[in-house]
Amino acid sequence: MAPDEMSATPVATERVLVVDDDPGIRVLISDFLARHGFLVETAADAAEMDRALARRSPDLIVLDLMLPGEDGLSVCRRVGGRGGPAIIMLSAMGEETDRIVGLEVGADDYVAKPCNPRELLARVRAVLRRRREAPTPAEALGAGCEFAGWRLDLVRRELRSPAGVAVNLSSGEFSLLRAFVEHPQRVLTRDQLLDYARGPQSDAFDRAIDVQISRLRRKLEDGGDAQSLIQTIRNEGYLFSPRVSRAP
């Protein structure tokens, strides 16, 4: 493959550990990642992974969910989290609920098999980038937050109204709302919003931002008046007015 295709900026050799019980997949993924500048080790199961971890802790683990012996979820619960390596869960189950379970036990991201290799590469890079940067407000918020009686679950991507009714958000709307709750009570320009909202988990954010804002307002039952949650600041952008607190 032509190296320029990925527009790869070679990162000072970051270490990735690929844990999968299928030898073919182990070799293919590690070759692919190695071609894009990563130092890759492999392990066939949890025990082998522990030995690799003992030798040297990687920056990131690509972890198959279904492993012989100790399964991926349990491994993730054990080695994931703040101090440990970043974890990208790789699973053949590929259901939305599996994704949520994976993220809830501490995985940084979740990729469904059969995955597009370039998508996996993009996710690996994004997760590593997020880890490198100082903890973002998103991480400060943890799994969820509250504002004006509303609750936003950042893992389940679920919004609940003050009455407790689940309000479904498209991925674009969710990314936008996340950008707002991470930067509350501050005027955000359209460009800033676009930057913040185009996180690694936002796949679809092509629509004009104003359309997304109006959809979001409708779902937040927001009239767009003076008491509005999302206020329009003339010639500047938008301001998310409520106080945002970390969910208990």
Partner: protein, 440 residues
């Protein structure tokens, strides 16, 4: 009553029948023994004489009345027999008239002479008449005064008392019988309700119904059956899950291997892999829809439909929301999203565009997804929901899929206590209408 649940249904029923029979017999016995002996209808000479003298009908001690009428002819069946002759003589003496002017007749001859050793119920110095009789006395004008016992209206008093006693006995036994019958029937009703619940939700808790050994054994068998069914569904789900997993592993390898293929070939192969993966996803969604419990809670239905429509529009499909009322249903967001995504996908694939309406109607939340396609023959509207069913139009147009979309839609709708129907719109195009119960 605590011992009752352990008693077999057979014994309980037998006991109920025998106990009822006994109770009825006892009630009858009590009535027979406790009521006064019914008095024969006895009329003395003085009764009849007084009636004639006063031209009225004085009540006799037994409450029987006599009526007086004037007729042109004497009563038929003239005086014969010793008793009647004695009675006539005594009556003539009492009234002071010629016995020839009197006629004593008993048409429905019920007269019984008290002979010999038989003891009469009433001892009397004067001759008596029993039962129905007619006494005629010739008047001065040649017509006849006729005296007879007043006909009893309805039942005799003693018959009335017996009836009343029997009705009271039935009333007294009824509550007991009702309780008994209910005890017998209640486990059956609970059983039926439980079976209904399990039919809707195979993961419902096993039945726990106290009752007779027969009911208990039926409940046990039923619970075992449910367990087997649940295990069967679980096995099937696990098997399909395993197949999906095993299929996706080589697909993943393929996906990485084709990275080395020429660009043109890679695109086509990737599309094939994508299609196979879609089939696996659809199959997984179908078996999981039937097997997996999902978290339930209040969901803003319009927000789900709007999201589905928006996300479809992002892929370039012509999808619109025409009406979005805020209706809240109790459900699982992901399941509902899949339901409407399948319908919108069908509408876009077969009907060019999808127009969604969300509203409340008659206590139900309604979502209608309309398309602008050719519609569907009425005969295929029911079979369209069957798993692995693909309409000819779909096969020939090679629209992909393996015929699980609508099956999944219906499974999810029913799991939410709702229903989905298809209809052809008068204006053209197909309408899918989903109704779900509103959250309380």
């Amino acid at each position: 009553m605590n011992r009752l649940p352990a008693t077999p249904l057979f014994i309980q029923t037998l006991g109920l029948v025998i106990a009822t029979l006994l109770a009825a017999q006892v009630a009858a016995l009590v009535v027979i023994l406790s009521l006064p002996t019914p008095q024969p209808e006895i009329y003395t000479v003085s009764d009849v004489a007084a009636a004639i003298r006063h031209a009225g009908a004085p009540a006799t001690p037994e409450g029987r009345a006599l009526t007086i009428r004037v007729e042109n002819h004497p009563p038929g069946g003239g005086t014969e027999g010793r008793r009647r002759l004695e009675f006539r003589a005594a009556l003539a003496a009492a009234l002071g008239v010629d016995p020839a002017r009197l006629v004593v007749a008993q048409p429905g001859l019920r007269i019984l002479a008290f002979k010999g050793g038989s003891s009469p119920p009433i001892r009397s110095e004067q001759p008596l008449l029993f039962g129905g009789f007619l006494v005629g006395m010739e008047r001065a004008d040649g017509r006849w005064t006729i005296i007879r016992p007043a006909g009893v209206i309805g039942l005799d008093p003693w018959r009335q008392r017996v009836l009343l006693a029997l009705v009271l006995a039935v009333l007294a036994v009824s509550p007991l019988a009702w309780l008994f019958a209910r005890r017998l029937a209640a486990p059956m009703a609970a059983f039926a309700a439980g079976a209904e619940r399990l039919g809707r939700d195979p993961r419902a808790a096993p039945l726990d119904i106290a009752g007779s050994p027969e009911v208990a054994s039926a409940v046990r068998s039923f619970n075992v059956m449910q367990e087997r069914l649940a295990r069967y569904v679980e096995d099937r789900t696990a098997m399909v899950g395993a197949i999906a997993h095993d299929l996706r592993t080589p697909l993943t390898r393929l996906r990485f291997r084709i990275e080395a293929a020429p660009e043109a070939l890679r695109g086509e192969l990737a599309a094939d892999i994508e299609e196979m993966d879609q089939m696996i996803s659809a199959t997984l969604a179908f078996v999981r829809g039937a097997a997996r419990p999902s978290p339930h809670g209040p969901v803003d239905l319009a927000s789900v439909v709007e999201t589905v429509i928006d996300e479809a529009a992002l892929t370039g499909a012509r999808t619109f929301v025409e009406r979005a009322e805020r209706v809240v249903v109790d459900g699982d967001t992901l399941g509902l999203k899949r339901l409407f995504a399948n319908l919108v996908n069908n509408a876009v694939s077969f009907g060019r565009e999808a127009t969604a309406k969300v509203f409340a109607d008659e206590g139900m939340a309604v979502v209608e997804i309309d398309d602008a396609g050719p519609g569907m023959p009425e005969t295929e509207m029911e079979t369209a929901f069957e798993p692995f069913r693909r309409l000819e139009a779909s096969r020939s147009r090679n629209t992909g899929g393996i015929g699980l979309g609508l099956a999944v839609v219906r499974a999810i709708a029913r799991a939410h206590g709702g229903e989905v129907t298809l209809s052809n719109r008068p204006a053209g195009g197909l309408r899918a209408r989903v109704t779900l119960p509103l959250a309380l």
